[in-house]
């Protein structure tokens, strides 16, 4: 063994696994602290509060996952919010006045549409070689405009049974959790372990290395954006179920796109690509939900909530960055 390898131990080390998932673990701990704090403020904190949290964050959690997939693949998607609004309007318009079964069919149709739009986005980006940020900025206007054709004013509706299926009701918190886990377990876990999933990470990590390793950028991009589109569709449908209708307002699109970026940054996805997962961002969404609640419990003006959320994002990323820098200095 040469001096070179001997000076740097390469055998298994205990810390390797925790090192790779350190950020996610830290976000989970942060969430637990916030949850405990929030629980201590609320009398009889229990299933109802959990259900409220899961139901009201479901759409944004899907959206954060949608953004994560794209960013891990080395892109960024500014159209996730607009696609959410489009899916929201489509589902609210066509579910209105229908029964449970039809609502399910409509949901499936909407998902097919958003997944196809995602695939189209990926195709345009790769084929035209225009940067993601420009293409998705443009498509966000297109999807937002299309939403206005579907639903001119806020309205529409959905079947009551469908709402319960997606979000649960009262103290039944597990339907919302199951809905959240479904795409994670059914699509992401198998994808992550497949060659295509590795290719998404490789493309985000180093375009050149990925290409030289035989990754097909077109196919990989399209898979990432298709999955992202599917998740945006789920987010739109969850919004329909939560609000009981649809709203074509562009501010919703913008706010939720920005919130998705905040969540992935807090959730440990590197904006430079190749690093992170989908679980961290979901916990980050919950953290960002709990912060204003806790402030309310402390009797602080809830208007400060947004300010604190922003400060927390910067602080967490700052501290995380410092820790990473320190670690790289030590090793």
């Amino acid at each position: 063994m040469s001096v070179l390898t001997a000076s740097r131990p390469l055998g298994p080390t205990v810390g390797r696994l925790t090192r790779r998932h350190a950020w996610t673990a830290a976000v989970v701990v942060f969430f637990s602290v916030l949850l405990a704090w929030n629980a201590s403020q609320t009398r009889n904190f229990g299933a109802f509060e959990i259900q409220t949290m899961l139901a009201s964050t479901l759409a944004l959690a899907y959206l954060a996952m949608a953004q994560s997939v794209v960013v891990i693949g080395g892109g960024i998607d500014l159209s996730v919010g607009a696609l959410l609004v489009l899916a929201n309007c489509l589902s609210a318009r066509f579910m209105e006045g229908t029964g449970f079964g039809t609502s399910l069919l409509v949901a499936a149709g909407v998902l097919a549409v958003t997944a196809a739009l995602g695939a189209l986005t990926g195709l345009v980006i790769t084929a035209s070689k225009i940067p993601d940020i420009i293409v998705t900025l443009a498509t966000s206007f297109v999807w937002g405009g299309a939403a206005l054709f579907v639903l001119r004013t806020p309205g529409g509706g959905t079947a009551a049974g469908f709402q319960t299926l997606v979000l649960g009701s009262g103290s039944a918190w597990w339907p919302a959790l199951l809905c959240l886990l479904a795409p994670l377990l059914l699509v992401w876990v198998p994808l992550r372990r497949s060659r295509t999933g590795i290719a998404i990470y490789a493309l985000g990590s180093s375009k050149d290395a990925a290409f030289l390793s035989g990754v097909d950028p077109l196919r990989t991009r399209m898979v990432a954006y298709t999955f992202s589109g599917l998740l945006c569709g789920l987010a739109g449908i969850a919004t329909t179920a939560f609000t009981g209708g649809g709203s074509p307002q562009s501010t919703i699109a913008m706010n939720s796109t920005l919130a998705s970026v905040a969540a992935i940054v807090l959730g440990g996805v590197a904006l430079s690509g190749g690093v992170g997962g989908l679980v961290g961002p979901v916990f980050a969404v919950w953290c960002l939900y709990l912060i204003p609640n806790i402030m309310l419990g402390l009797g602080v003006d809830p208007s400060y909530g947004e300010v604190v959320k922003g400060v927390v994002v910067v602080l967490v990323v700052l501290v995380g960055g410092l820790l990473r820098a320190r670690r790289s200095r030590l090793t």
Binding site: S2, L4, R8, L10, R16, R195, S213, G214, D216, V275
Partner: protein, 486 residues
Amino acid sequence: MVALRSVDLAVAPGEIHALVGANGAGKSTLVRILSGVVPPDAGAVEVAGRAVRFRSPAHARAGGLAPVFQDPAFAPDLTVAENLRLTATDPAAFRRRLDGFGLDGVHLGEPAGTLPLPLLRMLDLARVLAHDPALLLLDEITAALPADYAERVFEVIRRARDDGRSVLFISHRLLEVQEVCDRVTVLRDGRNVDTLEIKGPEGSGERTERRIVAAMLGERAALAVSEPRRVAPRDTTRAGEPALQVRGLSDGHRVREVSLELARGEVLGITGLEGQGQDELFAILAGDRRPAGGEIVAAGRRLVARHPQEAIRRGLTLVPSDRWQALLPQRSVRENLAVPQYNAPSRWGWINDGRERRLVAEAIARLSIDTRAQAQARRLSGGNQQKVAIGRWLVGGFTTLLCFDPTRGIDVGTKHQIYDLFRELAAAGKSVLMFTSELREVPLACDRVLVIYDGRIVGEFKAADADEATLLSAAHGLADTLTDSR
């Protein structure tokens, strides 16, 4: 811009064929075409008698052509195992190859980005071999590779040849080309200008080398290389206070108690294996990293640099090994050369255009930078990029130049120009501290050489006495040859 005009090349089965040429001769472009990275405009590639046209690296690999580039094709955030899956490499076959290299301690769960570059190159080679390619394309694989690794690479490609495979071996090191290869093709300006047989290490080595170099540089430059082995430089060291003194410098980790002294008018070399603390030492001297202990005295005054700018103001300037840490790829050569000037704007903060243009023109002339591609620095060949990286400080001004592997991946002609430049600078009273991983250049460029091992200076030699064997054994920490000459 045409990098490759017309090349005819035939590699026989069971042959190690070297491809040599000055920077910008088109070697890398040829490899990129052969491995499917870029499509050719014209011409045909035949493998085993059948015409092929590779659409992608994966396609080329399936066709039996496998490249190993200077930058290993590993996604840094993925583990080695995941990278293997990406290329559909059988981990067992990969392991067997690694064992063959004597690298059995590598853990495949490690993210590729955390591994040192030379090791990654070996992993890349093992991965390529695991696919049993008919033709192995090695693009400067031994550049900045520690000597023991290079030896293993040679063993591996000899074995591949004995198995009936072919190897296309690109290298700037003519010695290893003559040692390892059967035939050599010389490229110049995108054409093949000469192909010659190498008759084994005994034959007329020197004549072969001279013929290769002459073919590489063309008739115009052939005269200049007729005496490529410069004898040890004359002593230009000036008495008086040293330009740079380092006492007991350490960073608490990789650099341990390093002391050295650099006189005005001296070129001091440092050599060592990969990862012995030289990167950290240079980073500290350049003000890019703070030391944990010890002191740096530049021009008689103690220097505590918290930022590279403070070191630069005191005349301590760094030319890093990675040129892209020094250059602005999209900007012109002129702007790149003038950047250090912007630290010291003239009155009112305006940039004095006339003065800038004059200084830049001087630097270009002095370094004979090929300004055909003046538009953007990234369009220059590697050798010209390195000249620009050094030229920045000729424009910006310095007293001590810190150069990290200044001739890495550079052709012979340019290397000698850089050595000459160092000698000229020394004669003018400037000092140069250069790290080099190529032991052969020590007597060509330096007055004195230090050997660093495990963060310590373990040897000091006069460059004239520094033969490769002595330096190598010191670099491996085998002999503590530090003589207390001071």
